[in-house]
């Protein structure tokens, strides 16, 4: 097993005085420890017989009810029986692979896509078909053209499209959001061509401005969409509580797969989140962190405008954790990274890792979620200076033959990148 280049890059940043925009964790400064500590005490002292015990594989019914109620308010008609609690939404991705995917099946993914999603499905030996994204998210017309051409092929030659994996809001890694019109069209395509959609929405509630788009699942009348949510970004990740919403029959299959996988998710975390909600902390906290992350985004976008060279482009995320940077063609973000670390003590994730086809070598993912305000200003100033120094200079040779992230590479990059 070879360590990925990304893992190596992270090792570089473990030395002191490096400003890193690589890790996409939530900021620990946002964790409401003063409120959570007495709740944790209460959950252990008053509910120990349940909170310290095994729970149902499907999750505690009260939490499934709470999630169903919240999602109904967001337009997703669902009952508690249509909700399965998982170890973060990452586990939902794995379980979907387990019950749905066979070797050789085709999985549509955004190009670029969240690496953790790709690595979950990659285990099931599928073929990835990357669909490009633009400022309005996945290019659904391109997907439609592909599907039409594929359906015209002979049964022997045609691919078997089984799943489309998308992060529709403030996507990881690009920060872009799928337009409402494309959401509707995507569900129509799923219905017409008989594939499922995994709508992975960890960042959706972290919207800084504008109106929320309707969830993809709100257009779904046939049970083609599995909606994945998580408390990891909106509250904190320390209990690994995520969920998946789908038709009851599918949830039952996922629950059976989960039973063999780990019996049940931790009861304590489920009880704690229920109690956080009961005390109003869930909503109050969300309002607070939206302001925190909006300010960080504004700081990063302002700094990019001030310090980055004119030849470089970047996205404008309306929420979430990430900005996506495109360097001029021919620049190689991966081979530049060690130099950026050595010369300017600043780190990022080179974007090529998020592509399944070997492209994207001139792209960069910047996370604004973890760095302090001062670090954002200073780090972007340094990175801008570094990029200016490299523009038009002969490119140092990439250390590997390039190519997109696959297999072990994909997987070993997941941990450091997170959702």
């Amino acid at each position: 097993m070879k360590a990925s280049d990304i893992r190596e890059a992270f090792k570089l940043t473990e030395r002191g005085d490096i400003i890193s925009f690589a890790g996409g964790f939530p900021s620990p400064d946002t964790f409401p420890v003063d409120e959570v500590a007495p709740i944790a005490h209460f959950v252990a002292a008053s509910q120990g017989a349940l909170s310290l015990q095994y729970g149902p594989t499907e999750g505690l019914y009260e939490l499934r009810e709470l999630i169903a109620t919240r999602m109904r308010a967001q337009g997703i008609a669902c009952s508690p029986e249509e909700v399965l609690i998982t170890n973060g939404s990452q586990q939902a991705l794995d379980l979907i692979g387990k019950i749905l995917l066979n070797p050789g099946d085709t999985v549509f993914a955004e190009q670029p896509a969240y690496i953790g999603g790709l690595s979950a499905f990659d285990h099931y030996e599928v073929k990835f078909k990357g669909i490009p994204i633009d400022d309005n998210g996945l290019d659904v017309d391109r997907l439609a053209a592909y599907l039409e051409a594929n359906s015209a092929k002979s049964p022997e030659e045609a691919e078997t499209p089984k799943l489309c994996y998308i992060v529709p809001n403030f996507q990881n890694p690009t920060g872009v959001t799928l337009s409402a019109d494309r959401r509707r069209k995507l569900v129509e395509l799923a219905t017409t061509y008989g594939f499922c959609i995994a709508e992975d929405n960890p960042y959706g509630e972290l919207r800084f401005e504008g109106s929320p788009k309707p969830h993809v699942k709100t257009f779904d009348t046939r049970g083609a969409v599995l909606y994945l949510g998580s408390f990891s970004k909106t509250l904190f990740p320390g209990f690994r509580i995520g969920y998946v919403i789908g038709p009851e029959a599918v949830i039952q299959k996922l629950a059976i797969a989960k039973q063999g996988t780990d019996l049940c998710s931790n009861s304590f975390g489920q009880k704690l989140i229920i109690e956080c909600a009961r005390r109003g902390l869930l909503d109050a906290h969300l309002q607070g962190i939206v302001d925190v992350y909006r300010a960080k985004r504004d700081l990063m976008l302002g700094s990019l405008g001030e310090h980055f060279p004119a030849e470089v482009q970047w996205t404008y995320p309306e929420g979430g954790f990430f900005v996506w940077v495109t360097l001029p063609p021919g620049m190689n973000a991966k081979s530049l990274l060690p130099h950026a670390v050595a010369e300017e003590r600043v780190a990022y994730v080179s974007g090529g890792a998020f592509f399944t086809d070997g492209t994207g070598s001139n792209t960069i993912r910047l996370a604004f979620s973890q760095a302090s305000d001062d670090e954002i200003v200073e780090g972007i100033r340094r990175l801008g200076r570094f990029l200016k120094s490299r523009l038009g200079r002969p490119e140092p040779a990439a250390r590997t033959s390039g190519g997109g992230a696959k297999g072990a590479d994909l997987v070993s990059a997941t941990c450091e990148l997170e959702q």
Copy 2:
């Protein structure tokens, strides 16, 4: 997907006034809520930046160190790098299947075996080869004979033995313990024939009497044994913290599989267990619950002797949660169960579910871990009266065609049975 008969039986017991020996959960009365509540407060208030954050896929290093130190004291030479934290040991079983097993591989299992282990491996489309057990655990000579015969076959006809799955101490479901001599021989067979051993030991520290047997892994010089442990029985299951110990190269592969599966286990539970250990609660609690469960076992064994008919046999567990009952040949525990519930308001798990070959229809698993002292005495009295009333009576027809637990049946039984 059809609901298993076991699930149906559990539904019966959801009505009031039923005394159930079916569920193998730890007793919530043993949970040290008064000690845990301030620790939970401390872990959130003082360590929130880590305890509420994502953690490394491999688990927190401090917990891996703690486990390695404890296991070295039990004779297993291991470093923290040879420990992977999992969501209960159930997840370790799934991950072992994921990296090790291919469709058609042969997995040796005790006959009868823990259903959760069978269901974890069943997903990987293996063949199970059941090896009978007696009062000294797995019949290793039978396994040796099988392996010798298999190795004499042509490559086309020979099976591919890949894994032997055992619960060596106070086995679920039978309560028996593998003798030291057989442990040594089993490792020799694994080395000779090139298969792995999954040594699943959730109950080992719950020994009521006698000396602990050396762990199977202590005989292992070639890295053939993966040792699985858990805090679910020795402390409480509410955080789903288990672990697997093996060669560092295997642990790295398991970690990569875990990354794609759920990124990491919950940090809060890991931090809480570290703090429980630092305050001495881990050892103090263990001493206390051994006394509790010993008393429950003694009560059950005494009641069995007093109330059960002479034609019925049972095991003598030196630890753990379970007693295994064998009825006279021809009696069918599964078809009797609804009658026991209806007539005497008492429930058990019919043992056939733990067999992969359709045998064991005259066996019963009784858990003494969850029932109160009064319930144990009264429940065994009722069950004895019921069995006496049925001895020599024509057997009511079984409602299904029999056969061992397989596929969906296996899996849907897991949750209720637990480890």
